[in-house]
C-alpha cells in the first residue's frame, strides 16, 4: 500500500522571446485592442530553435527538482503531458531521462491536450496512493508555435510555448483531492490538429511541396467558450465537492489559461469570492496548453508567496473535448 500524496515543488521554463500583440496583428488583420478584448492576452512567448520542447521540459524539470531539493535519481516515474512533441516515438519522457542521467525510471507521455497536466497529476496521485511510485515528475510541455498557422485568425494570437513541472510524492496528509474528469467526445471537432501525418505524406508525394498542409491547430471559438465556461464551471464545482470543500474554502483558483474571458466568466458562474486569488498568467504568456497550469502555479506563487501550502482548485480542459480538475495543496516554499 502507498500513502497520501502531495505536490512537493513546482518548476517552470518560459521561452526568452516575448511577443507582443503588435508583432502578430498584421498577418491576421487584427489589432492589439481586438485581441485583448476577446482574450485578455497582451503578449505570449514563442520558443526559438535553441529552445526545443525537450529542452524546455528538462529546464522546467530541473527547476522543480531544485525547488524540492531532489535529484533526478530520486524520481521513479516521469509523465510528460504534451501534444506537440514532434516524435511519435520514443517518448519525450524517456528523452528527458536520458539527458538528465537517470535512464531507468518508468516514463511515458500522455495526450489529453490542455487537460493533460491535470490528467497526469491525477495519475501520479493514484500511483503514489497505490504504492506503484514514490516520486513522480509530472511535466506539461508545449511548443505550439510549431503547429500554429500564423495567419489563422482564430488561433494565431492564442497559443504559446513553455513548460511547467511538479514533483508529486508521499505525504502524511492528503494534498491532492479526488479528480473530477471526463470528456465530451461528440465535440471532438471543436479543437483539432489537421491533417493527419498520413495525409501530409500522401500530399507531399503527390503534389509540390507548396501544397502540403501542415497539421496546425484549429478551434471553434464560440463552441469552446460555451463548453469551457458553462460545463467546466460545473465540473470544477464537482471537484471541490469531491474534496468536501466549497469555493469559500479555497485560496487560489488555477484554471487552464485558455482565455481571460473564460476564466472571468467561470469565476462568476461559480460565485468565486473575491478572497480567492485567480491565476491570469495568460495575459502575458498566452495559452500554453498542457503547460499552462504549472506555469500559472509558478507565476502565482512568485507573485503571492503567502499561497505556498494553501489550497488551490485546478481545472484543465481542451481538445477531445476532455477535462480534469482537482483540489491541491500548493507546494511548500522551497
Amino acid at each position: 500500500m502507498g500513502s497520501e500524496s502531495q505536490i512537493l515543488s513546482v518548476g517552470a521554463y518560459r521561452p526568452k522571446r516575448l511577443v507582443p500583440n503588435s508583432e502578430i496583428v498584421d498577418r491576421i488583420e487584427s489589432s492589439d485592442e481586438w485581441i485583448q478584448q476577446r482574450t485578455g492576452i497582451e503578449s505570449r512567448r514563442f520558443a526559438d530553435e535553441s529552445e526545443s520542447l525537450l529542452d524546455m521540459a528538462i529546464w522546467a524539470a530541473e527547476d522543480a527538482l531544485k525547488n524540492a531539493q531532489l535529484t533526478i535519481d530520486d524520481i521513479d516515474t516521469v509523465i510528460v503531458a504534451t501534444i506537440t512533441f514532434p516524435f511519435q516515438a520514443p517518448s519525450a519522457a524517456t528523452a528527458l531521462l536520458q539527458r538528465l542521467g537517470n535512464p531507468k525510471a518508468a516514463a511515458f507521455d500522455i495526450n489529453a491536450a490542455c487537460a493533460g497536466f491535470c490528467y497526469a497529476v491525477s495519475m501520479a496521485h493514484d500511483f503514489v496512493k497505490a504504492g506503484t511510485s514514490k516520486k513522480v515528475l509530472v511535466i506539461g510541455a508545449e511548443k505550439i508555435s510549431d503547429f500554429t498557422d500564423p495567419s489563422d485568425r482564430a488561433t494565431a494570437f492564442i497559443f504559446a510555448d513553455g513548460a511547467g513541472a511538479v514533483i508529486i510524492g508521499e505525504s502524511a496528509e492528503a494534498g491532492i483531492g479526488p479528480v473530477e474528469w471526463g470528456s465530451d467526445a461528440d465535440s471532438r471537432d471543436a479543437i483539432q490538429m489537421n491533417p493527419s501525418w498520413i495525409e501530409v505524406r500522401n500530399t507531399e508525394t503527390q503534389l509540390t511541396k507548396a501544397d502540403v498542409k501542415w497539421p496546425n491547430i484549429s478551434q471553434e471559438g464560440q463552441k469552446v467558450f460555451r463548453w469551457a465556461v458553462f460545463s467546466m464551471s460545473k465540473a470544477a464545482l464537482k471537484a471541490l465537492d469531491a474534496a468536501g470543500l466549497t469555493v469559500n474554502d479555497i485560496d487560489a483558483f488555477i484554471p487552464h489559461q485558455a482565455n481571460v474571458r473564460i476564466i472571468e466568466t467561470m469565476a462568476k458562474e461559480m460565485d468565486m469570492p473575491s478572497s480567492v486569488v485567480i491565476a491570469d498568467d495568460i495575459r502575458t504568456n498566452g495559452n500554453t496548453s498542457a503547460a499552462s497550469i504549472p506555469l500559472a502555479m509558478d507565476a502565482l506563487l512568485k507573485k503571492h508567496p503567502e499561497l505556498h501550502g494553501k489550497i488551490a482548485l485546478l481545472i484543465g480542459y481542451g481538445a477531445g473535448l476532455v477535462y480534469a480538475g482537482q483540489v491541491v495543496k500548493l507546494p511548500p516554499k522551497p
Binding site: R38, Q222, R226
Partner: protein, 82 residues
Amino acid sequence: MALASADVLAGLKEIVEEVAGIPAASIELDKNFTEDLEVDSLSMVEVVVACEERFGVKIPDEKVTELVTVGDAVNFIVNASN
C-alpha cells in the same frame, strides 16, 4: 404554449444589459447585436446560455451565428418555445 414576443423581448433586454452592460432602453428589435450593440461573439454565447436558462429553450451552437438582430433572437426563442 408559445412564449409572447413582448415577454421574450423584455427578458432579452435584461439579459443583454446584465451580460454586456448595454442599457435596456437602447435594445430594440431591429438592432444588430454586433454592429449596433457591440455584443461580441463571446458575449453572445453568454446571452444565448442565459436565454436558454430563462426561457427553457435550446439554442444550438450552429444557430447562434444566425441570430444577427434582437428580432432574430426573439423570433427564434418564441418558435423554439412552441
